[in-house]
């Protein structure tokens, strides 16, 4: 479910996405397929150029403190499932060279009136339905190789900005190499030399990359704002329904840490929560966490004062009001039944609770229907007159 405003933005972003793809020539299968025969490296240049642009842009925005690279990465990129992504990629490449499009470019192709693009869209739809039908057999493979959110900068062990600059440098080298290949293959295949490529746009783009990369690195040198000692030790209570709403709306922004006993946690817990026993919190290194997410502590009952380790957390700290029992009452026990006297706001609240209850417990039983509010009686029969039948 998305808000209407989000959907308007979605159409707008999609519009520019489609517009640029068409302008790049990606509505024509012959141009796209040229990538795989060496004489037209447009796909590679556009795709890699876009990746470097967005990556460096995000690095700069992150360096200036507008967003956090990691927070965006965790919300917008899917988690890594090694094997299905490898095999899915190989298959997608095969489908690409057979159809001449990828799913996104087939949309643009059909929108420019190309029948082959339309056929490919239909194929993509059929293929995804086929996957849905085969899912029970493929599920094991689909879920294999799960290594969670895995990012290259963590693998290398450097800040995102450093790796981004490295990738940009590699891209620049690859672009130059791609142009050499284009010349070689065009001569070999068509016996001609490609039309002189304008070098001005390339110079312009390379310069912008260099500036953005330098800016991204420069922000790393600025010392991070030192946390003020003793000033952060504030926390706010959060109700179970607010927590459920946040877990649904922006799961990437909340980090639920369960500090009850391990056995309690193993028996029942909030979906997606992590466990760390209360007395082990000090050894957990919470103060070193980047503090991007809001930390929500789940206790056995209430909490009188925040443990020092949690107080040192850089981000916002919440404590679940009433502890786990309040979550239990909200999400795990059978929700209340609505009556016709309930106000609309209570109806909405209970309906949300029912939805969460069903999601968490997996109960498929529909909520009992509200009692009828009005009685309908048959209208009195008309007498006489034969023309109204």
């Amino acid at each position: 479910m998305s808000s209407e405003f989000d959907l308007v933005i979605a159409v707008g972003l999609g519009f520019f996405f489609g517009f640029v793809l068409e302008r790049a020539g990606f509505g024509r299968s012959t141009k796209l397929a040229g990538q795989f025969y060496g004489h037209d490296m447009t796909v590679f240049k556009v795709m890699f150029g876009a990746i470097v642009t967005a990556m460096l842009g995000l690095v700069v925005a992150s360096g200036l403190g507008l967003v956090s690279f990691r927070a965006v990465a965790e919300s917008a990129a899917s988690t890594t499932y090694l094997w299905p992504m490898l095999i899915g990629g190989l298959l997608l490449g095969v489908g690409f060279i057979v159809s001449g499009y990828c799913p996104g470019t087939s949309l643009v192709s059909a929108a420019s009136g190309h029948i082959d693009g339309l056929f490919t869209i239909v194929g993509v739809g059929l293929g995804s339905l086929l996957f849905g039908e085969l899912y029970p057999r493929l599920e094991g493979f689909y879920l294999s190789g799960d290594i969670g959110h895995q990012f290259l900068f963590d693998l290398v062990g450097v800040p995102p900005a450093v790796l981004a600059v490295g990738v940009a440098l590699m891209a620049a080298g690859c672009f130059l190499g791609a142009e050499v290949l284009e010349r070689v293959w065009t001569r070999k295949r068509f016996g001609t030399v490609p039309a002189v490529i304008e070098t001005r746009p390339r110079r312009l783009v390379f310069t912008s990359f260099a500036v953005a990369g330098a800016l991204g690195l420069a922000t790393l040198l600025a010392p991070p704002a030192a946390p003020e000692v003793g000033a952060v030790a504030t926390w706010e209570p959060i109700e179970a329904d607010q927590l459920a709403r946040r877990l649904l709306d922006e799961p990437w922004k909340v980090w639920v840490l369960d500090v009850r006993d391990r056995t309690d946690y193993e028996a029942e817990r909030i979906p997606g929560s992590e466990h760390r026993a209360f007395d082990e919190l000090d050894t957990f290194g919470l103060q070193y966490s980047p503090g991007v997410k809001d930390l929500v502590l789940v206790t056995r009952g209430g909490l009188s004062s925040l443990p020092p380790a949690a107080a040192a957390y850089k981000g916002q700290v919440y404590v679940l009001e009433g502890g786990f029992p309040s979550w239990q009452g909200f999400a795990l026990e059978t929700p209340p039944v609505l009556t016709s006297q309930d106000s609309p706001s209570r109806c909405a609240a209970v309906q949300f609770q029912v939805a969460v209850h069903r999601m968490v417990t997996g109960s498929e039983a529909p909520p009992p229907p509200p009692p009828a509010t009005a009685k309908f009686v048959a209208p009195p029969k008309k007498k006489g007159g034969g023309c109204d039948g």
Partner: protein
């Protein structure tokens, strides 16, 4: 009668580097405004499921992977990426029209035949439909979005796409060269 005016030659495509930066700026805006990337196959998937759901809803309910998109009573089309796909179609059509490239045709290599080209377009699409669900995204959602965010899985996916394409290119060369 005057002869029909000749169709003006379509505008040339953008320089690939400029197009790349433009595409990157769209992606960056998406990150900054919505905290999401771009996508294509996910939206098509939902439209396909909605079509089946309109004809045979019981069938969708019986397949767990298909039924996911209507969990909690939402309509399969009530999704961000369905509307984004709608935008892609609009943007592509407007761009093609403005550049004088909007025309009905089958785009194919010099040695290909129409029937075979369309069959290949359909079959390739089916393969990609399965592949994109398996990999949790296509070249837009996985390679472009995840690639810019330096996600390991997305880079593996991207390299695999090129490997798959180059690996099979020789076998289908008659379609394209």
């Amino acid at each position: 009668m005057t002869p029909a005016p000749e169709r003006p030659a379509p505008q040339p495509f953008w320089n690939p580097y400029i197009a790349g930066v433009a595409l990157g700026l769209v992606l960056l805006s998406s990150f900054l405004i919505m905290g999401k990337g771009l996508g294509a196959s996910g939206g098509v998937n939902r439209v396909a499921i909605a079509a089946v759901d309109a004809v045979a809803p019981a069938h969708v309910d019986a397949a767990p992977y298909l039924a996911r998109v209507k969990a909690g009573g939402t309509h399969p089309l009530d999704s961000y990426f369905v509307f984004e796909v709608l935008g892609v179609l609009l943007g592509g059509a407007v761009s093609a029209y403005a550049a004088g490239r909007l025309r009905t045709e089958v785009v194919m290599g010099p040695r290909a035949t129409t029937g075979k080209r369309l069959a290949f377009a359909l079959i390739g699409g089916v393969i990609m439909g399965v592949a994109a669900r398996l990999a949790r995204g296509c070249t837009s959602g996985q390679a472009l979005t995840g690639g810019a965010l330096l996600s390991s899985g997305s880079w593996i996916f991207m390299l695999a796409v090129f490997a798959g394409g180059y690996g099979l290119a020789w076998f289908v060369r008659r379609q394209w060269t």
